[in-house]
């Protein structure tokens, strides 16, 4: 029983950064922008988040640092891809390359340092309930926040007028523009929201997942988050399922080694990446009747005045 509980807790922890980053990218893509720089924004968020927490001793301020760092990175992307109408694929790659360098530069002074990780909720009585107690009432704030975030995004996208307008920009920017909506401004906000989420997701790693910073600690999670958005068919509900599935694959890999499965550790570590490829193939294949992606995804829009 304790093992089951431990595994569920580990899966939740491993899924949370994926869920937060993918939620941000979902909103960005729903507005019609393909930002491939998630990995870059995440890794800068990780370095800045750790720096903030180490300097101030506060996990909360660390998380804020991560969010702001991610937003600043996303602003560079917005300036290029929206302001200057540069190819979004190339700009996103540039953002990741820059992010990896910046993160190493910012984080260099903090390698080897440790902080006290984010505290877990503890409600006497409730948290002590066997099996479900710690799973439901014993998480860190990031886990609860990630779930609130995806519910909020679902509500925003499907139950509010601005959400409807944002989706309209993603499906047909020409019509949205013709109706008088400021397409580029809406997309800029969507990109910044994506940046904030990616920055927070990155900050989660050194603030809650491990209590230290190492260069390259995002290890491709930003790219997996991008794949998750495809996996979810751009729907918040499926995104939650996908994020937890991938978190489970990541944890499976760790536990399989503990159980003494006779497979080299590197093969198990490759599992999340292989799973991503397989999932992408299966989903794209299932979707033969036309893509569910926002119709204007990744296309350049230059308003014609």
């Amino acid at each position: 029983m304790e093992l089951v509980e431990a595994i569920i807790l580990a899966v939740l922890a491993a899924s949370t950064p994926l869920l937060i980053a993918a939620t941000g990218e979902l909103v960005t893509e729903r507005a019609g922008v393909l930002n491939l720089g998630v990995e870059g924004m995440m890794i800068v968020g990780a370095a800045c988040g750790f720096a903030g927490a180490w300097l101030t001793g506060s996990i909360f301020i660390g998380a804020l640092f991560g969010i702001v760092a991610g937003m600043l990175m996303s602003l560079i992307f917005a300036l290029m891809a929206l302001g200057l109408a540069v190819n979004q694929v190339a700009t996103g790659l540039a953002l990741t390359i820059l992010g990896v360098g910046l993160s190493g530069l910012i984080g260099a002074g903090f390698v080897g340092e440790r902080i006290t990780p984010a505290v877990h909720l503890y409600i006497p009585g409730l948290t002590d309930i066997p099996l479900i107690g710690r799973v439901l009432f014993g998480e860190d704030a990031f886990v609860y926040f990630s779930l609130a975030l995806i519910v909020g995004v679902w509500w925003f996208l499907y139950r509010t007028r601005p959400g409807l307008i944002l989706r309209a920009c993603g499906d047909n920017h020409v019509s949205a523009h013709a109706l008088g909506y400021p397409v580029l401004r809406i997309r800029t906000f969507a990109v910044m929201f994506g940046g904030a989420c990616a920055g927070l997701a990155g900050a989660y790693l050194p603030l809650a997942y491990t209590p230290f910073f190492i260069p390259g600690m995002t290890a491709g999670r930003g790219w997996i988050a991008l794949a998750l958005v495809v996996f979810s068919s751009w729907r918040p509900g499926r995104l939650v399922v996908g994020a937890y599935l991938f978190g489970a694959v990541t944890i499976l890999q760790l536990h399989a080694q503990g159980w003494g499965v006779g497979i080299p550790s590197q093969f198990m570590s490759a599992l999340p990446y292989l799973a991503t490829v397989i999932v992408l193939v299966l989903l794209s294949r299932a979707r033969t009747g036309g893509s569910t992606a926002p119709a204007a995804l990744g296309t350049v829009f230059v308003p014609d005045r």
Binding site: L36, I76, M80, G83, L84, A85, V86, N87, V89, A90, T91, L93, A94, L95, I97, L98, G99, V100, G101, L102, S103, G104, L105, A108, G180, A219, G220, W223, I224, L226, A227, V230, P264, Q266, F267, S269, A270, Y273, L274, T276, V277, L280, V281, L282, L283, S284, R285, R287, S291, V302, P303, R305
Partner: protein, 363 residues
């Protein structure tokens, strides 16, 4: 006041030529500011980065050695990008090529295998790189899976596979437990061009690749097809060009070149297989491809320039204790400026004053 873009009636060829130079200029200005923030003398730092490596023969050879894989990979990537196929996983194809070629080196170690070893390693590495690149290409063509994400995921897989081999079955028993194969035999090593120097045969191969790509793109129908499919997909469809077939072809060529670059690097400057054989060549080559305007000759120049930043970065680290990550930041900023300046080829920037816009009654 608002900055808006106005589409040019046709591409500006003047700007197409000078835009990489503007980009480099802007990057150097930005780097100057960054050095000042880091508390380093910007002039000394720029000298260490861009001038010092050009002043002695050892560094010049080192630049050519570093440029070799970059140019080979970037030429392949440029074919993909021209055909609008987004191969982002050249790093993985590079690693798999290195692994496949090393297999022959490891198996023939200490035997009296002859001069066939190195050519066989080259062929196997190129074939493995091509096959590895075909996975995302086929997933794209058959199932519509994003080649960007699949090719990138395979980088991590290749990295772990290499790690497994050098820590497990291929580990050098006399290597003091370091994760590395034994040094390759002389028959499995890329010959040096200058006795006692660093320059090796791989640099000649890279030049041949550049020439071949120039001929392919400039003088053959296939090259024309690649360019049309990328630049005008609709026109290409009317012309009966098969875009899917070109995705497969350009990915295969690109993977083969990356794989070849991998074995050239391992059997050349490195001399044995170990983790960390690439300081991100596959990703830096993306910058090389764009900085070189997806043009073979441009890529050659861009490859040498990016190699200069690697060598300059190392020298700046030794001489001025500037962190090595500054080189990556530099490369990232450079790519941004290259892309931003490219925007000038298609668009004109215009400042618009909102009151006038309102007066015109549009919106």
């Amino acid at each position: 006041m608002q900055l808006v873009l106005e589409k040019r009636a046709e591409r500006s060829n003047t700007i197409a030529l000078v835009s990489p130079l503007i980009a480099i200029g802007l990057t150097i200005v930005t780097m100057t500011i960054l050095f000042a923030i880091l508390g380093k003398n910007p002039l000394l730092a720029l000298h260490a980065y861009f001038i010092a490596p050009l002043t002695d023969s050892y560094s010049l050879q080192e630049i050519a050695v570093k440029a070799t894989p970059l140019v080979m990979i970037a030429i392949g990537l440029s074919l993909c990008y021209l055909a609008n196929a987004w191969n982002i996983g050249a790093e993985g194809q590079f690693l798999i090529g290195a692994v496949a070629g090393s297999w022959i080196a490891v198996k023939t170690q200490g035997t009296d295998a002859g001069a066939w070893v190195l050519p066989a390693m080259f062929v196997l590495a190129a074939a493995a790189g091509a096959l590895y690149a075909l996975i995302p290409a086929i997933c794209k063509v058959k199932f519509g899976a994003s080649e960007i994400l699949t090719s990138l995921m395979l980088v991590y897989v290749a990295d772990l596979f290499l790690d497994y081999l050098v820590r497990g079955p291929w580990r050098d028993p006399h290597g003091f437990n370091f994760p590395t194969t034994a040094e390759f035999d002389p028959v499995a090593t890329v010959p040096l061009l200058i006795e006692g120097g660093r320059l090796h045969l791989g640099s000649i191969i890279a030049l041949l690749v550049v020439a071949a790509a120039a001929i392919l793109l400039g003088r053959t129908i296939k090259g024309f097809e690649i360019r049309v499919v990328g630049a005008a997909p609709r026109a290409a469809r009317f012309g009966g060009f098969n875009a899917n077939q070109l995705i497969i072809l350009t990915f295969a060529v690109s993977g083969a070149l990356a794989g070849l670059a991998g074995i050239v690097e391992v059997a050349g400057p490195v001399g044995h297989l170990q983790p960390g054989i690439s300081p991100g060549y596959g990703f830096t080559a993306i910058i090389v491809a764009f900085l070189g305007r997806l043009n073979p000759l441009g890529i050659l120049i861009a490859g040498l320039f990016l190699a200069l930043t690697f060598i300059g970065g190392e020298q700046a680290q030794i001489a001025m204790k500037i962190p090595l990550d500054v080189t990556k930041v530099f490369q990232g900023i450079l790519l941004f400026y290259v892309l931003a300046c490219d925007s000038l080829i298609l668009y004109r920037f215009k400042l618009v004053f909102p009151n006038r816009q309102v007066a015109r009654g549009t919106g």
